[in-house]
Amino acid sequence: MDPADLYQQTFRLEADELLAEIEAVILLIEENPEDDDAVNRLFRAVHTMKGSGGMCGLTDIANFSHGLESVLDKVRSKQLRVSRALIDLTLAYRDQVAIMLRADGDGVAVDTDRAADITRRLAALCPPAAPSGGPAPNQQPPDATSDVASPNPKPLVAAPNDPSVSYRIRFAPQPPLFLSGTEPALLLDELRGLGDCAVVAHADDVPLLEDADPEACHLSWDILLTTASGKDAIKDVFAFVEDISKIDIEDVSTDFIHNPDEPPPRLGDILLRRGDIATRDLDDALRSQARLGELLVGGGVVSGAKVASALTEQQSIARQQLAAKNDSVRVPSDKLDALIDLVGELVTNQARLGQVTGDTGNLLLQAPVEEAERLIGELRDIVLTVRMMPIGATFSRFKRLVRDLSGDLHKQIDLVTRGAETELDKTVIDRLGDPLVHLIRNCIDHGIESPEARTRSGKPPTGTITLTAVHQGANVIISVIDDGAGLDTTAILAKARERGLVPPDTDLSEREIFELIFLPGFSTARTVTGVSGRGVGMDVVRREVDSLRGSIDVHSEPGHGTRIDLSLPLTLAIIEGLMVHVADDKFVIPLAAVEECMELTADRFATTSGRNIIHVRGAPVPLMRLRDIFSLPEPRPPLEQAVVVNVADVRVGLAVDQVIGNHQTVIKSLGKLYRKADCISGATITGDGNVALILDLAGIIRSARNDEAAVVARNAAMRRPVAA
């Protein structure tokens, strides 16, 4: 690959993160325009976008970013206040850059007029006197403060693009300095003329008056000078004293400017670097030094508990800083996938090795094999955590969605997110984005009422959508909750009858009615809006969640709101499974769904009107035979076993020949041919090298229901008198 392309590719990855940061931060600023920290973050993100874009040749993005950067710089220096216009333009900037990034990769034409328009409007935000890079604004924006602050003092830390360099100068004259006619104060004045200058005299080392020659110079100086004049200019200052002085000039810019955001280095580190103390001195001093907390507690200023609490806060800040620092290595996800695949193979192979070792009964082999099993288990756990990502980034995307959509629909909606730190497999997170968009759109469009309607029903005019994520066993439950009108079961049922999805005389439970909204093409919206009502959406949600081996649960209370829970597996790579045996085949049932296993004795088993039922502690549970589902050959063993599973509160018994036991299941996806197979979600390789299919329990239940509905419909048709 051409190195330039490589840079651009890296930049695009970085740019996506920057755009996400820009969007998240501008929405923070919208909530609290006085948040200086957020303004600084926004500025840095735009500045980085400009710098990195320019560096890898995407000059249009760099130029486009420059306009916003200039405006944000004014906001930072309090010359300009945050306005609604600025927030809208920043969001427009973000969208435009996203388009420019994509266009650059795909060769799509960019609407340059739009970029120019944004630049022009951004420039119009600035006071006319300021150089804005755009055409002269013809109007004074109402929100721009006219009292422009005094220019910033020259910073000690050189700004990027500033040719200034910081030097540390050590000036140690010999005793005859004064008598040579040199006044050091004049030299120091000259240095101050070159740039920003900090002078420290070493006054502690002067000799005692009785012993000393008062006309000899016993002082020395450390000077920190930031100047654009260069080292030679500094040498010139000392030209007449260099014979009688020791002068060291060292460029220390890199110590200063590599990261202006970091706190300055600690005193001990500087002393150490300058060679004034040895590491041992520093360690000794630090050891003997009383901690601030101890000093304060000792002085009775504050209680120990308060200090402990403050320390906890400090540690927590440090942890957050560490997390924010993003101290990470960027790895292409296909490499990770390959790694997971290999670990999967390793786990499979280990299972085989364990089985062979057990069969041969070789005791010498047993210990190392068990050790390998332990190590591979640890390796598997770590590799799986590498793919884990907090869901927060996905959540923060929705802030924008809610803001824009609620504005379009003239509704007032707050989005509250909880559990953003909850971690999920990257694949799950990636594929979760679209279903969540649909769910949230539905909340905004159908769920939350207009402010007037809300006020009429005694609710606050602003609705709330809550997005939460929590761990629950091997699953993560993601909930989308709104405090809107709730699902209208009557309307849903009427619509379903109208469309022939439900026979006219059947009664459905509330849960069954809620299920209807997931049918393809189902919508109760009276008008089709740009947001929803086209009947595309909830079925997509269902399909995607199913393909992620998850489940959906709907709760709704009329007038109070709706809650949709998505239960998703933590990972798609490896699951805990229950291995069962039917005929010559093995199947894996996801262990999380298994409630219990039992023998299918005659007293538990009953057949009523062609349906098989088992009694599980007094309750009748429908029973399905895997042999029937997969058309496996007879004969059945004299005593079958049943595995009772629970999927979204539906209990079903699955009859199998034999329950083998727990199995660490490395999931292998099946080829395209099997994508539409209803009852299986994947496959795994067993210890003896055979393939076992992983059951898709939701699919099994669904297809059983469809069969059932078909039987009911056929029976009904047969009972109906035939018209002539």
Partner: protein
């Protein structure tokens, strides 16, 4: 330059009047050494101090250092704006004079090094 020494019950008050420059430091030394030899604290009154160059400042520093070495309480009073400006110009902290000596006299740690 003129040095006026006044003895009090607590010690000596040394008032330095006029310019304190390189040309004067050699003359000033014996008076200051004599003041250091007296009993009690040493108070350097700088309220009438005129222009002071680096050699002059160094002389004051050495006086304080000597007092410190003798375990004598040594304070400087009457820091004029010109004196502070002279200190700033050559990068000497005002604390280099009084605080060290005072602190040592109180038997405490040296706060200038904290």
């Amino acid at each position: 330059m003129q040095i006026n020494v006044t003895q009090t019950d607590d010690g000596s008050i040394v008032a330095i009047v006029g310019e304190l420059r390189l040309a004067a430091v050699a003359d000033a030394k014996p008076d200051l050494v004599a003041a250091l030899a007296t009993q009690g604290a040493l108070k350097l009154d700088l309220s009438d101090l005129g222009d002071c160059d680096t050699a002059g400042l160094q002389l004051l520093l050495m006086t304080c250092a000597s007092a410190r070495a003798k375990g004598k309480r040594c304070v400087t009073v009457g820091h004029t704006a010109a004196f502070r400006a002279a200190l700033d110009r050559v990068g000497i902290a005002a604390a280099s004079f009084a605080l060290q000596a005072v602190a040592r006299d109180d038997g405490q740690d040296d706060p200038g090094r904290r």
